[in-house]
């Protein structure tokens, strides 16, 4: 069931194409993250869905209605901003009631809705305070209550948590997810934080230079990136370049690497991506890919050890290992790396 649909949307500012042919569906009740580096067009896309920006081309549908020409105030959206954007001259209760008033809900009925919304974000005792008397996290929760109380068709969030410190951000993520699940509200969440996107979302859409390069479940996008950009932006990857040869890939060094991915015709250049945590310090198992490399740096990060390595022909490789026995290997040691063809993904460069 599709709730929000963006079809062939394009936007150009002057001579810069900010969005190019964006088509995507946001499934009813799902949590979708728009993930991409700064400047990739996430905010522009979100604001086109909200109605703050008119696309040059394309159609935006909310529910069964084409809203491309409907102004913001007529779209029934819930919006959350990075700067909270509470009305500073109104109490918390007045802030939350603002959208209800616009819908003709006043007096006791409004009071009841406001109370329920504040209860939902665990701020029941705060109705009569002013926004500036609240902490950043509390203000953001008021903003969420204000957006949710109008029962919007879609909840739009533009990096709402990036102004909060790490601990508070994690708390808010849990809160947001709980409220989203309870309400079953279609949610579109803009972020440049890949971890946030992976933990929160049902669907991740990766944007690069104004295009959606890949969409899917977090695990699917992470395990099977289709482009070099996606493999690099979402998590870490090692890239191996080579030529297709008899159903495998021969690297420049002569090493043959096997992959479970479909490969193009013999002789074609391909890029393979391997996640650093999928590589292992060799146990000599058969049926795996193997590389010899020298350790150049060991990074101790508590539960995980990162090794930066270099192969004899000068290629850099990164490996993440669980910290089971502390630091055993050191800089200058030469080791063998093992990894499965299953974890060797051919990506478009």
């Amino acid at each position: 069931m599709t709730n929000v649909k963006v079809d062939a949307v394009a936007k150009t500012y002057g001579s810069t194409k900010v969005l190019t042919d964006i088509s995507t569906d946001f499934v009813e009740g799902s949590f979708t993250s728009l993930l991409g580096p700064s400047g990739s067009g996430k905010t522009t896309l979100l604001r086109i869905i909200a109605g703050f920006i008119k696309p040059d081309e394309g159609v935006v549908t909310i529910g069964n209605n084409d809203v491309t020409n409907v102004p913001v105030w007529g779209r029934n959206i819930g919006m959350m901003f990075q700067s909270y954007a509470l009305f500073p001259h109104m109490t918390i209760a007045q802030n939350v009631a603002f959208g209800l008033e616009r819908r003709g809900i006043k007096g006791a009925a409004a009071r009841k809705e406001v109370d329920r919304a504040l209860e939902m974000v665990r701020l029941s005792g705060f109705a009569d305070r002013m926004p500036k008397q609240l902490s950043g996290g509390q203000q953001q929760r008021v903003a969420l209550a204000r957006a949710m109380v109008i029962k919007p068709s879609v909840l739009l969030l533009d990096e709402p948590l990036s102004a909060l410190d790490r601990r508070l951000r994690q708390e808010m993520q849990v809160e947001l997810l709980r409220i989203q699940r309870e309400s079953g509200l279609t949610t579109i969440f803009v972020t440049h934080d890949q971890e946030e996107a992976l933990t929160l979302s049902d669907t991740v859409a990766i944007l690069d230079k104004g295009r959606i390069v890949q969409t899917g479940k977090p695990a699917a996008v992470y395990e099977r990136p289709t482009t070099r950009f996606a493999a690099e932006f979402l998590g870490d990857s090692n890239f191996l370049e080579g030529k297709v040869e008899g159903g495998a890939v021969r690297l420049a060094s002569g090493t043959v690497v096997r992959t479970a991915s479909m490969l193009p015709a013999n002789g074609t250049d391909v890029t393979l991506a391997v996640r650093p945590e999928k590589m292992m310090i060799s146990a000599g198992e058969p049926g795996t890919n193997r590389l010899d490399a020298r350790i150049t740096t060991v990074i101790y990060a508590g539960p995980v050890l990162s090794y930066l390595l270099e192969t004899p022909d000068g290629m850099s490789v990164k490996l993440f290992a669980q910290n089971k026995d502390g630091v055993v290997l050191k800089q200058g040691d030469t080791i063998s790396l093992d990894w499965s063809p299953e974890h060797t993904i051919a990506v478009a460069s």
Binding site: A50, W73, G78, F81, S83
Partner: protein
């Protein structure tokens, strides 16, 4: 070195890292504020005080008449009841000028604060400041050219309706208010603009996303949030307008008798400085009383 540490003190406060080498913070604060207060004393308090002394004298101290202490000038409103009418006229003119300035000034400030296209904001700002750069007398006289019979206004009207009569309203209170609004509008625009530019765009967008149309945004968000700007603009307009004499004289003609012109007459024509001074202070007291009432009402309004 000395003044350097003084500055550091003022900037970082008494808990700054170089505390052990510094003077107590009140010394720095006093030192920094002293020039301001000295200037205020010289430029505002002393002249005001001189005028206050004048207002209790029986005659202007430059004539031959002996000077004695008297309160009679403060009885002017009782002894000469026609002054009450004139005072009322001034208040009415002040009220309408301030109200019109507030309405047009606020809307202009909104346009200015929200103008984002190219160099629109700079252009608008220059257009708004233009009256500031013109000599006040020239500005007011040019209105007489526009408003008089067979003036610019009538000519434009007759271009479209050849048989129409004159719509000249020179030498009326409308003309006075028009001239005053023109002169004082920039103050209102600037004070409102300063208040409006500090409003985060996201606040307006949040209101729109919740279903607010432009008038709701104007009356529920922009005006309440920019009230400090409106109030300072109103004060900056009302006070000088009440005492203005150039616009009433030139644009008001016979009907242009206001407290401003009466007071000016005492200084330039009647050579009765004490009466002029006493009338000024009476007017000041009335204005302060109005503001006091008004701020009380505002505070109660905000508390409710």
């Amino acid at each position: 070195m000395r003044s350097d540490s003084l500055l550091n003190e003022a900037v970082r406060g008494p808990s700054g890292p170089r505390k052990h080498r510094m003077l107590p913070s009140w010394v720095a604060t006093t030192a920094l504020l002293l020039p301001t207060y000295a200037w205020l004393t010289l430029a505002v308090l002393l002249p005001l005080l001189t005028m206050l002394v004048f207002s209790f004298m029986s005659a202007t101290p430059m004539g031959k008449a002996p000077i004695t202490f008297t309160l009679k000038h403060y009885r002017a409103f009782i002894d000469q009841p026609y002054l009450l009418n004139i005072g009322w006229t001034s208040l009415v003119i002040g009220f309408w000028t301030t109200l019109l300035c507030a309405i047009f000034g606020f809307l202009a400030a909104v346009a200015l604060a929200r103008a984002t296209v190219g160099r629109m904001r700079e252009t608008l700002l220059i257009l708004i400041l233009l009256p500031f750069w013109t000599n006040g007398l020239v500005r007011v006289f040019s209105w007489t050219m526009v408003l008089r019979e067979n003036g610019f206004l009538d000519n434009v009207l007759h271009m479209f309706f050849a048989d129409a009569g004159s719509i000249s309203f020179l030498y009326s209170r409308y003309a006075i208010v028009l001239g005053l609004v023109h002169g004082y509008l920039p103050y209102m625009i600037l004070t409102c603009y300063i208040a409006l530019v500090t409003i985060d765009d996201a606040i307006i967008e949040a209101a729109a996303s919740l279903g607010a149309r432009w008038w709701t945004i104007l009356f529920r968000i922009l005006i309440p949030m920019a009230t400090p700007g409106l109030i300072s603009g109103a004060v900056l307009t009302f006070v000088p307008v009440i005492g203005s004499f150039m616009e009433p004289r030139i644009l008001g003609g016979k009907v242009g008798v206001t407290m401003g012109t009466v007071i000016e007459d005492q200084f330039t024509q009647a050579f009765n400085w004490p009466l002029g001074a006493a009338l000024s202070f009476t007017l000041l007291a009335v204005v302060l009383a109005i503001f006091a009432t008004f701020s009380g009402v505002l505070r109660r309004g905000a508390a409710a």
